[in-house]
């Protein structure tokens, strides 16, 4: 029995202390008819056997270490400095619980305070929470914040179609019990200018993405002005790694900035766990979902940290809480804090520029291949959309034969964009890799 230290002597003595004859006697309260079911599960195996089995399972996959990856769409293959995982493997960090007893948790608390600070400084926003599950759920909770801010008197959200499809779907799932209209995202080509007519006195929030799902970098000054004039909040969904190069979203006077922190030192891990960023202006701090770490002093006069504004949260406010969130993704927040600390001001800028230049090189080279055409002339960061001469699925199948994982088939989520591929390029793609990719596309185009 793995991890159970009891001997027969222990069991005997303990049962005697309790005053029962056998382990089975501990379950009198369980209805006899259903007690001790015979579960149809495999029998126990040793650690040695388990390790071997899991190794084999992992090898039944293709991974981005062994195949060039040009797939993004909300999750990216980036460089993680080795330092990050060594810190995540510190037992005191990963086997600790939520820091409800601050005297025993100053490690977690200060690390999260630093995470909050780094994210605030990166986004230009005034307050960050201790993390949400991911970018999608952070956006859904931002919508809830906006509705609460307007005390339930506004019933519309204007949503850009260039916000990640999974995020928009998550918002709709979260809101299905509420009387809310979500408009604006039914036409994939609608830019911020075309969203302006949707904004009115019933709009609680306008949400856009930066860079957007198609990789475009857009200036949201005008959108922010119009939203604020109508009394609506402006929410911007960000890729934090892009903020190493781009103007912070606070420049557009955003009220809420959410996003996906996976690019900051968190492995792809087939989709999770990732990191939901959630930041706001100071005036919205009490409406924020999730935990907040604040600075204080202890009884000996030392600077220390505690969870604060806890009455907003579910364990105290219950049905009136700002959110039901309890467990978030603290260890991933730690990962991003270590990443941002070791990358630093110069490193993050360098990585962002590498992504930018390599993506532009790739776009230019692919654009020269007959049959491939860049979708539009908008500025982009490290992702771009290519119209393809063949169905994207067929091209990707061909690419796999060259051990290349191709870009995202946009037709899956945007019917108007069938035959278009969303291609991501990062610092992990060497020039040779990009050239091989272009050559393989050229081959695929001829088939």
């Amino acid at each position: 029995m793995a991890y159970i230290p009891h001997t027969d002597d222990d069991r005997r003595d303990m049962l005697a202390a309790i005053g029962v004859g056998s382990l089975d006697d501990l379950y009198q309260a369980v209805p006899a008819k259903y007690r001790f079911p015979d579960l149809d599960l495999p029998e126990a195996i040793s650690e040695l056997e388990a390790a071997s089995e899991l190794q084999a399972l992992s090898e039944a996959n293709l991974d981005v270490r062994h195949n060039a990856c040009f797939l993004g769409a909300g999750a990216y293959h980036h460089f993680t400095p080795s330092v990050v995982d060594h810190i995540l493997r510190r037992n005191e960090f990963y086997t600790a619980y939520t820091p409800y007893q601050p005297e025993l948790s100053q490690g977690t608390l200060q690390a999260i305070f630093e995470y909050q600070s780094l994210i605030c400084n990166l986004t230009g926003m005034e307050v960050s929470n201790a993390s949400h599950y991911d970018g999608a759920t952070a956006l859904a909770e931002a919508v809830i914040l906006a509705l609460n801010q307007h005390r339930g008197k506004r019933h519309k959200i204007v949503l850009s179609p260039a916000v990640h499809p999974h995020y928009r779907q998550t918002v709709r799932t979260y809101m299905q019990g509420m009387d809310l209209k979500i408009v604006g995202d039914d036409d994939c080509c609608r830019g911020p200018e075309e969203l302006l007519p949707f904004i009115d006195a019933d709009t609680a929030m306008v949400a856009v993405q930066y860079p957007d799902f198609f990789g475009h970098i857009v200036d949201f000054h005008r959108l922010g002005e119009v939203a604020h004039a109508a009394g609506a909040l402006l929410c911007i969904v960000v890729n934090p790694l892009a903020l190493g190069l781009l103007r912070p979203p606070s420049d557009f006077d955003a009220d809420v900035v959410v996003g996906e922190g996976q690019p900051l030192g968190i492995p792809l891990s087939y989709g999770g766990p990732y990191l939901g960023l959630f930041t706001t202006k100071q005036e919205l701090v009490r409406k924020m979902a999730g935990r907040l770490v604040g600075e204080t002093v202890d009884s000996r006069g030392q600077r220390g940290y505690v969870l604060t504004l806890t009455p907003r949260e579910q364990h105290i406010r219950r049905e009136k809480a700002t959110s039901n969130i309890c467990t978030n993704v603290a260890l991933m927040a730690l990962a991003s804090a270590v990443y941002l600390s070791v990358m630093g001001r110069q490193g993050l800028r360098q990585v962002a520029e590498l992504c930018y230049h390599k993506a532009h090189y790739a776009a230019a080279e692919i654009g020269r291949v007959p049959g491939f055409r860049l979708w539009n002339e908008a500025e982009f960061f490290n992702e771009f959309v290519m119209a393809c001469p063949q169905p994207v699925a067929e091209i990707n199948e061909h690419l796999l034969e060259h051990e290349i994982i191709g870009g995202y088939d946009l037709g899956a989520e945007y019917p108007q964009l069938a035959g278009h591929m969303l291609i991501a390029v990062t610092e992990m793609n060497s020039r040779d890799e990009i050239d091989d990719f272009v050559a393989a596309l050229e081959e695929a185009a001829h088939d």
């Binding site: 005390r151 009490r286 504004l309 806890t310 009455p311 907003r312 105290i316 406010r317 009136k320």
Partner: protein
Amino acid sequence: MQFPKDLKFTKNDEWIRVEGDQGTIGITDYAQDQLSDIVFVEMTVAPGEQAAKGAACATIESVKAAAEVFLPVGGTVTRLNEDLPKNPEQVNRDPFGAAWMVQIKIADPAELKDLLDAAAYEAYCKERAT
């Protein structure tokens, strides 16, 4: 524990001082004691607004709890205590004086009959403590 005799009380621990058709509202000594150190007060109504009996008029937060303050009777909001949000600790120090929250012009004086007097409220507090 104070229970001023000139006030009326609700079971949700609000008090109201009635002077003519003007009502001044706050939370009681018992309430601030239960909540402990108050760190935040926010009025959720505005002057000129008409609100019914039982409508929320303020939110209070302490370190370990949060609570809503409800109007004991309905009326039109006339004044808010602008100083209180800047000095939330007044709720602990002077709940019946400097920590008044909202003033209203009472719409229907008949609603006052449903409220508790000081003795009844004090008895209600003793009952809860056991």
